[in-house]
Amino acid sequence: MIKESYRQKSENDLVKASLDGDKQAFGEIVTRYQNMVARTVKGMLGDSVYSEDIGQEVFIKLYHSLSDFRGEAKLSTYIQKIAVNLTLNEIKRRKRFFSTFSQKGNNEMYEFEVADYDTEEKKEASELVNKALMKMDPKFRMIVAMRMLQGYSTKETAEILDLPLGTVLSRLSRAQEQLKNILGKL
């Protein structure tokens, strides 16, 4: 009953209530946006438990920066920006770690575990997308994750990634070429 009332609340009401210390209100924000964050984080880092940690960090950072959210942009855009920044930081951290401590190169940076799927087809589809994304250059992968997994338009992608529209368009075209090559080999 209480959960139902939170489901009907607007984004701004949930933010205000969360700032007042309402745990359930912030819980509703997490419920609403966790799949969106999962698509960004897991799309860019691979489907592993480590991605869950980054996902949790996204919401913890959101909680601590809620007072900075002025409601000028959509809350989803604000959360996406946090998710993209934390994921890019993690990619940089992994690059540094693996270039220092590993001889095997970048392939092991993006190990993933395949979750339980109700059909073999879905499992294969998920594996295919994961493998293709992890073989892509991170700067293209970002664009692909926004477009292919989140369904954002070019304009929305540019806004979230803080990139000029022209850059997004050119990367999109190069990402498509790279994806064709990768999928051809899989």
Binding site: F26, Q56, I60, E121, A125, S126, L128, M148, G151, Q176
Partner: protein, 120 residues
């Protein structure tokens, strides 16, 4: 997934990056085909526990970094204030901010310095 289906799915993935495609519609199709990304069960509760439990390491780490930042700013501000006061006092006492003034030699003649150093 049959070979044909795999080919279709790959085509769908490539088409999703077409500039003229409808990204929202294509992403729904990709998700329906099975490429779903979800966090595990209980993700929400884990996040809330980390945020609202006072003993959480993450929160403590965030708090530590925040207090470290505020301490750093306080030290930096006091340092800057001390430097400004020092510069003002040197200027007042020595009348300029030259290297000699910094070394305290601004108002001494060469002879008096030699006398000071040698004792003669």
């Amino acid at each position: 997934m049959t070979i044909m289906k795999v080919t279709d799915f790959k085509e769908l993935l490539i088409r999703s990056l077409d500039k003229d495609s409808d990204p929202a519609a294509v992403s729904v199709k990709i998700e329906e085909a099975g490429a779903t990304f979800r966090f595990s069960e209980g993700f929400r509760d884990k996040v809330l526990e980390k945020i609202y439990s006072s003993g959480s390491a993450v929160i403590r780490e965030v708090e530590f970094v925040r207090s470290l930042n505020s301490v750093f700013y306080r030290i930096a501000l006091s340092g800057v204030a001390a430097i400004v006061i020092l510069l003002i006092s040197i200027f007042i006492v020595q009348g300029s901010l030259s290297l000699d003034s910094f070394l305290g030699l601004g108002d001494g003649s060469d002879e008096s310095i030699i006398c000071l150093l040698t004792g003669n």
